[in-house]
Symmetry: C2
């Protein structure tokens, strides 16, 4: 995909070649100090990686292939140069991992706090983008990986407890599920898809709203992240509402056989799409409760809207 | 071009169709309070218009056609809702004028000041983008419109003098030269092009550096903006170094006949590309001085890099 860049940094625009028979995907995401990260909690390289993960994860959620990223970065004059270098290093390492070229951007001085805005451009064969609006009653609801690992870490940090990065990889080594997204698109398995950035309850509500359907979720089926040492599973509340996991949530018609793993990542059936508009949670005793979107607030009420 | 948007706001990515035989153009530009605008100087609608102008002007400078814009906007909680509404109104009015669709973006809370990041996606027939690197010795150097009008207004405001918006249209009604850029590309007239956002001396240096050439500019030929009432031409210094005019600077081989007006906009021959790397200014007495890039500082040293 590197061949997609005809002219990169250094002209008024980047010039990109889009593969013949493909449509363009574009996504843009803020990563703001005090909203999405704290400089005393997140190492600079993690913030850079997170910034690009947010964009790549949106490409993954369409079943697309990323081509190029554009970074707009504003920071206060007081910010150490080493912080900016480590930020870029974290971002470029992830870009390299997924063969995405940093093809442009803008830098400026901010009045307070680090402001990063990432744009990722990708492509998908014409008509094959997996939208939020394709879920139909009877479809199974699936998630990749485990949920709640990122917000469990933030809860520990908020309580001023020290944690080891290797016990909380979802926060300290965010990863977009690009390969899984691409496989689901290539095999025509998913009817609708979204990435889990706001939390399962909120992102499921986005799919249901866009598709005009409801959902029933089995609490016992939700894969919960194992964190800390000794490792323990996160609370159901954290798995249901915690954000920033960057796993994929998708639906698939009953006729499709969904493998238990795709590209090495576990895939769990957690419920079913229903008629109507209700989101219902079935607890471990079989009791039904209404599931309200409680997209988890990331240590600030200044939540980024998506 | 509206048909370019397959899926707009409301999914993980926007899905765009790129015309067959075209390449993609992508540009991203910050518009920051205290760097590019001041809330006490610039009405909100002007800031919204400026924000999109910055992106569209980069598309114009490649000879391209804009398709869609993406706005990332962060603002402090204290900002009046009416400011945001007027900002969007100014931006959308310009978008409508040039048939560009606002196809996505992100909003968030900033810690201080308004932070806007605009992404504009456009297209150009394969291989026809007008780059900065195509200027050759002997080419004529041309600019559209008049220069210095925007910074003349900022100088007045900085000196705490009241000015009337209608006497300073370049500041209060910024306009991208999309039609001129497209005509130059369609007729194959320009060998290199850039938009004048940093100021003539700096942007000419960008073309010369990218093309590996020098330039000789005739001071008497530089079209100076007429501002204020009664209207007077701006100082040569302001026309040479003032930024944010969003006119086009281009070069053309001697064999090409460049009309005195394109799409109603005056086009002025101001000099010639030379061998070597020097930028030389010839004053009204025929004396030569070295022209140094002095890209004008917009009321802050936190100048946006481009």
């Amino acid at each position: 995909m590197r061949s997609g860049i005809v002219t990169g940094i250094g002209d008024d625009c980047a010039v990109l070649a889009i593969p013949r028979g493909h449509q363009l995907l574009v996504t843009t995401d803020f990563t703001l100090e005090g909203v999405h990260f704290r400089r005393d909690w997140h190492p600079a390289a993690v913030v850079g990686r997170l910034c690009l993960t947010r964009g790549l994860s949106d490409i993954a959620a369409m079943g697309g292939d990323p081509i190029a990223a554009f970074l707009s970065l504003a920071f206060p004059r007081s910010l150490p140069q080493t912080w900016v270098e480590a930020f870029l290093q974290g971002l470029l390492r992830l870009a390299n991992e997924f063969r995405v070229t940093l093809a442009g951007g803008d830098t400026a001085e901010s009045r307070k706090g680090v402001v990063a805005d990432i744009v990722v451009v990708g492509s998908v064969p014409i008509g094959e983008a997996i939208l939020r609006s394709g879920a139909r009653p009877g479809d199974g609801i699936y998630v990749t990986g485990e949920l709640g690992g990122s917000s469990a870490a933030v809860e520990e940090l908020s309580a001023r407890r020290r944690i080891h990065p290797q016990h909380y990889p979802r926060l300290f080594r965010p990863l977009p599920r690009l390969v899984v997204g691409r496989v689901l698109r290539q095999r025509g398995l998913a009817s609708a898809m979204i990435d889990l950035s706001d939390g399962l309850s909120t992102d499921l509500a986005h799919i249901c709203e866009a598709s005009g359907v409801g959902a029933r979720i089995l609490a016992a089926s939700i894969p919960r992240a194992v964190v800390g040492r000794p490792g323990i599973g996160v609370d159901l509340r954290v798995a249901l509402h915690g954000g920033e996991d960057y796993e994929l949530l998708f639906t698939a018609p009953r006729a499709k056989r969904i493998p238990g793993r795709i590209a090495g990542i576990p895939v769990s059936l957690i419920g079913q799409i229903t008629r109507g508009q209700r989101l219902v949670l079935i607890d471990e005793n079989g009791a039904e409760t209404r599931l309200h979107p409680q997209g988890w607030q990331h240590f600030s009420s200044g939540r980024s809207a998506r």
